[in-house]
Amino acid sequence: MAKKLIDLVKKKFGDALLQSHSRLGNDTVVVSKDSLADVIEFLRDDEASKMNFLRDITAVDYLNRRPRFDVVYVLYSMELKHMLVVRAPLEESDVSLPTIAHLYGCAAWLEREVFDMYGVKFVGHPDLRRVLLYEEFEGHPLRKDYATQASQPRIELLSRERDSVEEFRKYVKDEDINTGSRAD
């Protein structure tokens, strides 16, 4: 089973496949970031792989390696019960990747976490914002060069809260909500 999936990717995306290995029960393919979305879409739809379940997306910061980051996708097939790890290396100078939010429901959410923690930008993501930390937070805490003891000052008002007030006003018919004279 193991080699089959790697061979499948190799056959279809010869040049895009940078590296592959099969260790500790995990099969891994390393692909270039430009072909990442295509590889995952192919794996999801092909009859031989049927990877209909996205287990996880995360990133690894190797700090001193070039390229510095790896974004990791763990795919699984509920029907055929096999797993494949897809990794895409990223240069520090250009931490962006195509999104796969259109392929899996949970991808958008998981990509937000990677963006929050590592600052990886997902091009084409419908709603890329922080998921755990607040908007005004500076930096990306899981990067290795973010100090463990770093602290950030308290913030005054979340812009998200301001937004929801604005959004509320947009749907209230009478603009002048404060005067109390609402002409319906």
């Binding site: 500790l24 996880d56 763990v74 429901g105 998921v131 930390l133 929801s164 959004e167 749907y171 209230v172």
Partner: protein
């Protein structure tokens, strides 16, 4: 897109869409979760979920600890079933090390893991009843959970933050009278299970609140990465224990309860059935377990016995090396997965060959399910959020990073 949703609403002079902030301290949203709801009357049109952050920094802290020091952090992931998190992490590191644990240890992990799962399901079922006003059912379930925690306390020495798992084994053997104590607890658990069924399963109020609310289709559940009870309630029989057996799950006989509708009531019934299955697994394991060592004999990872540490220089050096430098895990990366209380609990671990993990990422089922929770809310009533949010069983510690 937004205009389309509100087009029909704008024509109605009496209703305007209302934006309601539910949480972060709403009684029905445990933890720091906040839903920004757009309401049309009482119907939820749109839901934006914010999971909040408890600032515990699981992954960052783990990267600054030795491999063994991570165990206390894993306790605090899903704090209702910490043993499952302990063992899941231990299994991941063992995969990376390429070591096997003795058979008795596998049995102990299976037994204690299932005991923990009982605690998880009892809490969820009981709290679900409580949030819908069924105080009695809650008190019974909590009695069951206390009994289960008594067992855990006898074995691990702690009720909540157990830190019982170890790389290459467990902290200690089961107590000699564990099987006897289990027999007593089991008897009462079965009574509580039957009582809960009587109190809730045919209760008109409970049925009305649970049946047909929080519905999700199998396709949507798969796409949104749902696992565990939430996925099985839709009819997809995916259970890591069955599909990819680890520990002793291939040596025992148990069923995977599945639902048909993917609604709150199915999730409740699946949990109730799983309580019985866990009891079955523990019974079989206790019948099969044989005496023997509980820790691996690999000197690289397991601390020597105290007698040897005090009396031989080699064991003392070994002890110091493991404590100061940590276990030396060979370089590599692995994704290891087990069945947690809420679903698939995965650890993605990267080692660079030193005594500290380079990266530990946890695939927490709660966190992923919160990413798709708006699918369950949108189109239903505001009041349905309470039972739905409960049967999802989000655990704040796991959702946080």
């Amino acid at each position: 897109m937004a205009e389309d949703i509100f087009q029909g609403i704008d024509q109605d002079i009496h209703s305007e869409p209302m934006i309601l902030q539910m949480g972060p301290s709403h009684p029905a949203t445990h933890g720091t979760v906040r839903f920004t709801l757009t309401l049309d009357g009482e119907s939820v049109v749109k839901c934006d979920t914010e999971v909040g952050y408890l600032h515990r920094g699981f992954e960052k802290e783990s990267e600054n600890s030795t491999w063994t020091q991570v165990f206390p952090y894993t306790d605090r992931l899903n704090y209702v079933s910490p043993l499952l998190n302990n063992f899941g992490y231990a299994l991941a590191v063992e995969k990376l090390l390429g070591i096997e644990v003795p058979e008795r240890c596998d049995y102990i992990r299976t037994i204690m893991g299932e005991v923990s799962r009982l605690s998880d399901h009892l809490t969820c079922v009981g709290a679900g009843g409580l949030e819908l006003g069924a105080m009695t059912a809650f008190l019974y379930a909590i009695e069951g959970r206390e009994l289960v925690w008594d067992l855990i306390e006898q074995v691990t020495g702690a009720r909540l933050t157990v830190s019982y798992g170890r790389v290459g084994g467990v902290k200690d053997d089961l107590t000699p009278d564990f099987a006897e104590n289990w027999a007593v607890v089991k008897k009462r658990l079965l009574e509580i299970h039957a009582t809960t069924h009587k109190l809730l399963t045919r209760n008109r109020i409970f049925l009305d609140r649970m049946e047909g609310t929080g519905v999700i289709t199998p396709e949507a559940a798969l796409s949104y990465g749902y696992t565990g009870v939430c996925l099985r309630s839709t009819g997809v029989a995916y259970d890591v224990r069955k599909d990819h057996p680890y520990f002793c799950y291939d040596k025992v006989d148990f069923d995977v309860p599945v639902g048909a509708h993917g609604d709150n009531f199915d999730r409740y019934l699946c949990r109730m059935d799983e309580i019985l299955q866990s009891i079955r697994i523990i019974d079989q394991c206790l019948a099969q377990i044989q005496p023997g060592p509980v820790n691996s004999d690999d000197p690289r990872v397991v601390l020597p016995e105290k007698v040897k540490v005090y009396n031989t220089i080699e064991s003392m050096i070994q002890h110091f090396k493991i404590i100061f430098e940590g276990i030396q895990v060979p370089p590599g990366e692995v994704y290891s997965y087990t069945e947690g209380g809420n679903g698939e609990l995965g650890y993605y671990i990267v080692s660079n060959g030193t005594g500290k993990p380079w990266k530990i990422h946890v695939r927490a089922p709660s966190f992923i399910m919160m990413g798709g929770i708006h699918k369950l809310f949108e189109g239903s009533l505001l009041a349905d959020i309470i039972p739905t949010f409960d049967t999802i069983n989000m655990i704040g510690g796991e959702c946080d990073r």
